[in-house]
Every structure is written in structure tokens, then in C-alpha cells.
């Protein structure tokens, strides 16, 4: 007999689409364990042929940056336009990048 809980844990769901893209976060759902989370994700998020691979991560395992840290974390890069590779002339022959 396993320990009794009131609610199943929350899982974040990542799905890779048909065309070799990376896995993308598509939403979250509840499930008792990781295998069931994959089955639930298959039923909730791939009904319309959206994916070929599913990752599930228990939401509490994700460490997120804090919104209050946004100044020190992100603002310093705002003034550094030279980090964008927009100062090169790209030859026409290269085509779309």
C-alpha cells in the first residue's frame, strides 16, 4: 500500500513535433507517476497528431528564476547591442538564415 495523498503531483509536459524541432513546453497536467503522466500527455496533448516524442518533468523539480531578480539578471544585456550578429553583410548566395 502506498502513501495516501489528496492530489496527484503536477507534471510539466514537453513535446517534440514532427519535424525535428526541439521539445517544447505545451502545458501541465496531474498524474500519479511519470509513466502515467506520459499516457495522460499522449491523450491530452497529442490527439491531433502534434508530436513524436514526449518528456514529462515533475513541476516541483523545476528551479525557476525569480521575477524580482530581473534587474541584475537581464537588464545588463539590454545595452550591449554588439552581442547581436547584426553588423555583418550576408552575401545573397547564402539565402535565408
Amino acid at each position: 500500500m502506498t502513501q495516501q495523498r489528496n492530489e496527484w503531483p503536477l507534471w510539466e509536459i514537453f513535446i517534440r513535433g514532427q519535424h525535428g524541432m526541439s521539445h517544447r513546453h505545451v502545458g501541465s497536467l496531474h498524474a500519479a507517476d511519470s509513466e502515467t503522466a506520459i499516457l495522460n500527455a499522449r491523450d491530452v496533448y497529442t490527439r491531433r497528431n502534434e508530436g513524436v516524442s514526449i518528456w514529462v518533468v515533475q513541476a516541483q523539480q523545476i528551479t525557476a528564476s525569480s521575477p524580482s531578480d530581473k534587474g541584475p539578471l537581464y537588464e545588463p544585456s539590454e545595452a550591449k547591442v554588439y552581442r547581436h550578429p547584426s553588423f555583418f553583410d550576408i552575401p545573397k548566395e547564402v539565402g535565408a538564415m
Partner: protein, 253 residues
Amino acid sequence: MAQTADLFEFLCRMGDNTLVLGHRVSEWCGHAPVLEEDIALANTALDLIGQTQMWLGLAAEVEGQGRSADDLAMLRDAWNFHNVLLVEQPNRDFGVTILRQFLFDAWHVEMLQRLITSSDQRIAEVAAKSVKEATYHLERSSTTVIALGDGTGESHNRMQDALNLLWPYVGELFADDAVDTAMSEEGIAPKSSDLRDAVMARITDVLAEATLQVPDGDFTHKGGKTGFQHTEHLGHMLVAMQNLQRSYPGATW
């Protein structure tokens, strides 16, 4: 060639099983214990009703009387439905629903795997398409039966009650009659009894892992697949399912 009547009967049995179970499972839509299960059950119901369109569509074609899959589904009365009694049993609680699903899935996957090599190409094609869905249904229902059977005291007791209730309906899945013999002789489908060992092995493995006790005794309710005697539940279900076509004959949208 098998007699048209036998082939029609076999196809109706396949289609009636998926139709009746599909409708039963669809009754959960909007009522399941959690959102995720609600969507999963609705998907399962839609898969089964999709398979019904193929089986009854083929049955209507074989019959050659100008009827369609819709006519067969919506305009026959209970005694002309030849599904096994297991699938018409009411949903009751979630445990009964998921155990009924598991018992059917275990049989369904084995049957469809055998039908892939049917001598009738049309049947082989329907089976090949359906078996992927059925395999997923079985994976899902097996996992859930194990989780609930080997879960809390409450979930274990409910699953054991469900098993005690439904077990006498399992034997009908393996009961042969003249139609089975005719299908088997033509290489169209296996005899029902040929499936018993493989299906029972699958069922007992999962039930053991789920810590559930198979009830004693081999009494079996029969009469669904021959249409001889359905349980009282089928008529009530058909009233709801067929209401629209019965009230507004020929209605389309």
C-alpha cells in the same frame, strides 16, 4: 467462400462490441474523476466508435441490402445486437469501468492480432488499423488496474468488487458457436476458444500484479453474442443512444 450470413454475423459481433463499449465509455464524458481521465476515456470511446464504423460499414457492404453502418447502429433493436454481455454492463464506479475496459482490451488485442492475417483482405485491413489503438487502450487500462488494485485500501476493495462483479462475463468471450466454426474453417477469423489461453495469461498476469484475487468458479453468463438473451442494461442504453434517430428518423447534420 463463407456464407454471407455467417460473415455478416461475425462482422456485426465485432462492430457491436466496439459500438456498445464505445457508447458506455462515452457516458463518462464530463463526469470522470479527473480532467486527464475524462479526456483519455473520451479518446478511447472515439477510437472504439471509429472502429465500429469500419466493422459495421463492412457488415453492411457484405449484406448487400442497401443498409449503412448508421442504419445498423441506430435502427436495430436490442435482440439484433450481438455484442458480448461484458461490454453492455453499466459503468457503475470508475473501478468497474476500467476493469471492464481491461478485460475487453486483453481479448480485443489478441483477436485483432490474429485478424491481421485473415484470409479476407478487408478484415485484415480493419484489424491492422484498429490494433494500434487497442494496444494503447490495453496499456492504459492495465496500468490503471495495477495502480488501483495495488493502491490504497479503498481502491483495492473497489477493484476486487469490480472483478467479482464482472468475472462471470469473461467466459462468453471464448464461447464458440457455428459462426466461429465457419469463420475458422475459411481462415477468416480464429475460433473464440483459440484465444482463451493467450488472453487468460495476459489477464491473470495483470491481476496478480494488481494483487487482485480471481474469483472461484467457472460460471459464465452467455447470450449476448448470439443475441439470445441480453442483460436488461442494453435496452436502456440503446434508448439513450438511438433516441435521436428514433425521434427524428433520417435526421442528419
